[in-house]
């Protein structure tokens, strides 16, 4: 299911019920129920039989298993609340599986689930798996992270997805020759996987606060952030969660703040982004249809702004809806195209992803390299860390050569900027004593930074290497 105004209307009605009618002690369970339901409900329909139900089902299992892994070592058995949560989740899944027996027009979900006995058997199988591996002497955190990273690589690699689809189609008695990369669209997996990796890694380093199953599932599957993030941190989410029972329905400033944010997001997404998408945005088709260098640039600028308004609009709506439910999701964008350095751009574009990668890739990698003997040169350390960080950000969008180049482009940009700013620090300090020159310089660097990012979007918008190179050539008149 795509995001639309009807969906937002349902969320608004849900917020009214949540604030005005749900007793304070039930609010956490309500949010858990809504988030789990949304996971299944928002999953777009898929051509392979049952896959549209089984993918969210498997994701739910992955979340529960990750919670199991991240439980503090002294909590070997599940407490009563965890059993209650598990019962709610399992009950919900079985209830959602029952929609199979409703006539097509009456089904609230887009995907027809398998029979309830299949769902029950799979749930039992997962429980058995968890029970079997719990006593094993494996490095459980590493194992968990490898599983999630492995799944991530699988769903982001087109060739692997096609192979999985072929096998799945065969098992489902469907034509395997029709297997396509679009067969497996796993809603929210990119975001959920990074939340899970964060919790497992933080448990490994002892930084993760204790999270109940209810809180953990609600954090990873929090429904406003399912479609397009942001990637919240568990400890921050936990603080809002703990204050949820204190929320009052007549907290008008909260309503105002949430609704204002939603309206801002709607304006960005449905007016600006959709208008740009309609008439002023580069796409692979229009790139081949346009000969004029002037119009290619205009369309590329349009694409850059469309991407920003679309993504930040979604984020605004997610933040706004979150506020209505008492959860203040983190910011994801802060005037990124207005920045005068590429470093500043990455501190303000998809902030939660870039800070995630900085936290879990850049910093540990830099520290590891610093500890090496003989110690590599500082420039090499920065280069390797920046490149690794940006390549991971690139590949997070999909494991393709173009996303790899896009990540490399930004990694190089960040590295060159680092070298440049190190070498011109003294000159820049002097420049600050000349306000006019500083202003001119700032506008100049803003222009350069913006165009660096815009040129990088070519690798993002064009799916194949040869066409992207061709477009880059045509942008400079070749």
């Amino acid at each position: 299911m795509n995001f639309d105004l009807a969906l937002l209307g349902i969320a608004a009605v849900g917020a009214l019920i949540f604030n005005f009618f749900v007793p304070q002690s039930w609010r956490e369970s309500f949010l858990l129920t809504v988030s789990v339901t949304a996971l299944f409900w928002l999953q777009p329909p898929l051509p392979i039989r049952w896959s549209g139900f089984l993918l969210p089902f498997f994701l739910l299992f992955l979340v529960i298993w990750s919670w199991w892994l991240t439980k503090p070592a002294d909590q070997r058995s599940m407490d009563r609340q965890s059993w209650q949560t598990l019962a709610i989740v399992l009950g919900l899944v079985l209830l959602l599986a029952c929609v199979r027996y409703l006539p097509p027009g009456w089904r609230p979900t887009l995907n027809r689930p398998p029979g309830i006995e299949v769902v029950g058997a799979l749930a039992a199988l997962f429980a058995l798996f968890m029970w079997l591996i719990q006593g094993k002497k494996v490095e459980r955190f590493l194992f968990g992270m490898l599983i999630i990273i492995g799944l991530f690589v699988m769903v982001k690699t087109e060739w692997i997805v096609v192979q999985i689809s072929t096998v799945w189609r065969t098992l489902a008695n469907q034509n395997p020759s029709l297997a396509a990369s679009t067969d497996i669209f796993w809603l929210g997996f990119s975001y959920i996987a990074f939340r899970l990796l964060h919790t497992i890694r933080d448990r490994q380093t002892g930084q993760l606060p204790d999270l109940s199953l209810q809180k953990f599932v609600s954090y990873t599957l929090f429904f406003p952030a399912l479609l397009a993030g942001p990637i919240d941190r568990a400890e921050r989410f936990s603080q809002d969660w703990d204050r949820m029972s204190e929320l009052t329905a007549d907290d008008w400033p909260r309503w105002q703040k949430g609704l204002t944010r939603i309206v801002q997001g709607l304006g960005k997404k449905f007016i600006l982004a959709d208008a740009l998408a309609l008439g002023l945005s580069l796409n692979p088709t229009v790139a081949t249809q346009t000969d004029s260098v002037f119009w290619l640039w205009i369309l590329l600028y349009g694409y850059a702004f469309r991407l920003y308004f679309d993504f930040s609009g979604y984020t605004d709506i997610a933040i706004g809806v979150g506020i209505l439910f008492g959860i203040e999701l983190p910011e994801n964008f802060d005037r990124p195209y207005w920045q005068s350095t590429i470093t500043a751009f990455w501190q303000r574009w998809h902030m939660t992803l870039s800070s995630w990668v900085r936290f879990y890739v850049f910093s540990p990698l830099s520290r590891t390299l610093l500890r090496r003997k003989p110690r590599p040169s500082p420039q090499l350390i920065v280069f390797v860390s920046q490149m690794a960080t940006m390549i991971i950000i690139g590949l997070w969008h999909g494991i393709t050569i173009n996303f790899l180049i896009w990540g490399t482009w930004h990694g190089l940009g960040l590295f060159i900027h680092k070298i440049w700013s190190d070498r011109t620090r003294k000159w820049y300090r002097q420049l600050q004593t000349y306000p006019r020159r500083l202003l001119l310089w700032t506008w100049f660097t803003r222009f350069i930074t913006f165009h660096f990012v815009v040129i990088g979007w070519v690798w993002f918008v064009i799916p194949d290497f040869a066409s992207a190179v061709d477009l880059l050539g045509r942008l400079v008149g070749y």
């Binding site: 008008w252 105002q256 208008a275 309609l278 008439g279 229009v286 119009w295 349009g302």
Partner: protein, 379 residues
């Protein structure tokens, strides 16, 4: 409490502002929507379109169908200023003229312009494609009426029998949604909208039309960048060559007569009278089948008896009215027709344009040299 009031006040003010906007919009009717249609970024920020906007798949064709005639014209290059040395010819017609399955450069009108005709007094003849993919002379008349506001020197009206069928006249939304314009021309849509609710003329009631106006502007850059204004299917079915043994045409049988009473000939004469400039009528080429029952039918549109009678009627009546008339019904080989008996291939359009240019060359000179033939009424 004050926060609550502030929040509710914002909602209240927004509601009042919205209601006022709707009220002012309603007070501005009739005519405000048309006036809004005249506001256009085409011919200034983007080049004007070569043909009137029409398209179902906006994201592929960079074009859309709308019913606001002033907006359609405002997006067309007809709305640009006429230069002193221009002899402006408006070309009316159906989808064959509009250029179905032809790029903007391949249409008959674009090909006509390639001939770079000149009048006797040295003015450059510029043809404007006002064809529209609907078979209805009533629709032509509506477009002619608007086209007359754009200072034409001549009208070239491409017609075919199907566009004269009585039941075809008022069925298209373009005719139905322009009820006032139709009524002013003495025309009546088949399904008049009837008594509309009062709010039909508010922003809420007109939201779809207003959104279309906005969309037409939004897709301007795509048109400017690509020059594409039509979605081309990968494959299409060729016009039919074999038929049932069916000689009926819109309920008329062989024993009936195609005459001024049984077809919408009066709409044509209404247009001829309304035009303040010379009009040339052209019977457009049709596909002539050679398959099964082709002795009964020329093609899927026309049984032979009906089409033959139509041609005779057109020739006789237009001669009586002293309207220049060219009949190109069989001028294009069968191989140059695409998915319908009137749609031409680009090569077919080129051939047709050459024939038209040859025929028009003399005619334009005659018209311009003869001050008594400024309008059909004078002739």
């Amino acid at each position: 409490m004050s926060k609550q009031l502030s929040f509710l006040r914002i909602i209240g003010y927004t509601a009042i502002l919205f209601a006022l906007c709707n009220l002012f919009f309603w007070l501005g009717q009739p005519g405000l929507t048309d006036q809004l249609g005249e506001l256009s970024l085409y011919n200034s920020l983007f080049p004007g379109r070569s043909r009137l906007p029409y398209g179902e798949n906006i994201t592929e064709s960079y074009n859309l169908t709308l019913n606001n005639i002033p907006a359609m014209f405002a997006s067309h290059k007809i709305s640009r200023e006429k230069s002193a040395d221009e002899f402006r010819v408006l070309v009316l017609g159906d989808s064959a003229t509009w250029g179905w399955l032809q790029t903007a450069e391949e249409t008959v009108v674009a090909q006509l312009n390639e001939h770079k005709l000149q009048t006797a007094d040295g003015r450059q003849v510029v043809f404007y494609n006002l064809g529209y993919p609907v078979l209805s002379l009533t629709k032509d008349l509506l477009l002619l009426d608007e086209g007359l506001n754009h200072d034409p020197d001549m009208i070239l009206w491409l017609v075919t029998l199907e566009s004269m069928a009585l039941e075809q006249q008022g069925v298209h939304p373009l005719v139905q949604e322009n009820g006032r314009r139709s009524a002013a021309l003495g025309l009546e849509p088949d399904s008049p909208a009837g008594e509309e609710p009062w709010w039909a003329e508010t922003i809420v009631g007109q939201r779809r039309d207003l959104a279309d106006l906005l969309r037409l502007q939004l897709i301007g850059p795509m048109w400017a960048a690509t020059g594409i204004d039509q979605e081309f299917p990968d494959q299409y079915d060729l016009r039919q060559n074999d038929f049932e043994n069916d000689a009926a045409w819109h309920g008329l049988l062989h024993s009936d007569l195609i005459s001024r009473e049984t077809v919408a000939f009066e709409v044509l004469t209404g247009g001829l009278e309304r035009a303040k400039v010379p009009v040339i009528v052209v019977n457009e080429p049709i596909f002539i089948a050679d398959g099964q029952n082709s002795d009964v039918r020329y093609n899927s549109l026309y049984p032979r008896w009906a089409y033959d009678q139509y041609r005779k009627m057109m020739a006789n009546h237009l001669q009586e009215l002293e309207i220049p008339y060219f009949d190109f019904w069989d001028a294009i080989p069968a191989a140059e027709f695409t998915d319908s008996p009137v749609h031409l291939t680009p090569a077919g359009a080129r051939q047709f344009a050459r024939l038209l240019a040859e025929a028009l060359g003399d005619k334009i000179e005659i018209i311009n040299n003869d001050p008594n033939r400024n309008s059909p009424n004078n002739s």
